[in-house]
Point group: C2
Chain length 241, copies 2
DNA sequence: CCAAAAGTGTTATATTTACACCCATGC
DNA sequence: GCATGGGTGTAAATATAACACTTTTGG
């Protein structure tokens, strides 16, 4: 906001009261990964004319919170998780994007682990569902567009930052990690090259455990070593897949 | 916005009218490049308590425009340029970021060529000035923070997309281009390697002209060939400096 | 013993880096 | 003739890409 568009403070305040019947919301594209598929958490929509569609999870931004805080609040309320990866993506402000009036929304994406605790929690919110991204053809409002914008940003970021681990169990095998990248980026990776590269980064910790009760040779399990990553990052190291 | 946070349509409308005395603005970090320095266009601020500071260029978002349109409008109004590179960066929504009330702002950065036509235009807006980014220690509101966020994003993008040309004259020498990257990224580049790489991309067009009235061997002049770039991009080519 | 995934090295190719000298122009 | 930037090539090091077989477990 510059002063040059404003004659004086009073004009300015009047302008706010007259012009702005605009609401601000946040919408979250919550990505999860399960069964070798990328999914998002959606809600049944009951607002006309979108009664048969699903929508993203969102809410109005409260007067006492930032948009980041609002997005975090939505995430905690819907998933029960307090420590989630959240990234602000873009504002969507088409005048007619919402049937009830002007609602400018700030889109976020987040990455969470789908596990049984979540399923239990979600059962309480009967209208929430995980949907495979690939199987979604439309969503309420402009949410399909928002989803794709967030998906593209996530696909870019997952190659530049070690955020993919947020989608996996804490302990994971190298093949699990490889499949994650293959599914999300829709590419094929060479097993040996992938392993050499990831191990070479030095941010994976071999915890000395192996898979249990799998009907094949059990894989070693790793964790993402965040503290090593932070240290390396500060010394000019770049994660780059 | 999801329906799950809303009881019914009427509640929702009430909520908007009651809760939202929030204004939405856009703020533009307008980058220019001149005299081997990166500059931004700022305005003298006359709003207390920031009377002695400079501020970014911005305005309230009008009811009939998107935030992108508002940012474009600000740019045209202030610089006179209609065809400018504009990129949405991030929302800033701290409750106390603006002294007059809650103003949520969407930050944009843009890249423009500083030339004499501009200087003329700017003289009409006597309170506008180009300031070297490196010499700015503070700005009104949270604009210093916004500037740095936009600068970081621009530094990242200029390596990934051929947008640096927006800051140069249409015809430029390879050394001009190299200096641009060196100044913006605060790095040193090897002349021979830089030339090989840029020429190898195939997006520079040698127009067969050379510099005039320079007191050294005149350099060949190039233009950025946008149509070739678009063609290559669609075939999976990535600009990457 | 079969199915299924784990795990492992080498070679060829492409990319990146480092580096030093002569050239053309204006003054 | 001198100051200033323009312009050029090669070799070494590094990173990437392609590729196939043996191992371990459960059933």
């Amino acid at each position: 906001m510059t002063t040059s568009s404003v004659q004086n403070i009073n004009t300015w305040l009047t302008q706010i009261n007259n012009d702005f019947k605009t609401a601000i919301s946040v919408d979250c594209v919550i990505f999860g990964y399960d069964d070798d598929a990328l999914k998002i958490l959606v809600s049944e929509c009951d607002m006309p004319p979108y009664e048969n569609e699903y929508s993203l999870l969102g809410d109005l931004v409260h007067p006492d919170e930032t948009t980041d805080e609002a997005a975090k609040r939505v995430l905690i309320a819907k998933t029960g998780f307090t420590d989630v990866f959240l990234d602000q993506v873009q504002v969507f402000s088409d005048q007619n994007r919402h049937p009830l009036g002007r609602v400018i929304t700030v889109a976020y994406y987040s990455l969470i682990k789908i596990d049984n605790d979540h399923l239990t929690h979600l059962e309480k919110n009967a209208n929430l569902q995980w949907k495979e991204v690939n199987e979604i053809n439309s969503l309420a409002f402009d949410h399909f567009n928002i989803m794709h914008t967030c998906l593209r940003k996530m696909q870019k970021q997952i190659r530049e930052q070690p955020i993919g681990f947020n989608l996996l169990p804490q302990k994971f095998s190298l093949l699990q990690l490889q499949r994650l990248y293959e599914v999300i980026l829709n590419i094929e990776l060479d097993k040996r090259n992938f392993r050499r590269k990831l191990k070479g980064l030095g941010i994976l910790h071999d915890i000395g455990e192996i898979q249990e009760s799998v009907s094949h040779r059990p894989a070693r399990l790793y964790t993402f070593d965040k503290s090593v990553y932070e240290k390396k990052k500060n010394s000019g190291f770049n994660f780059d897949l």
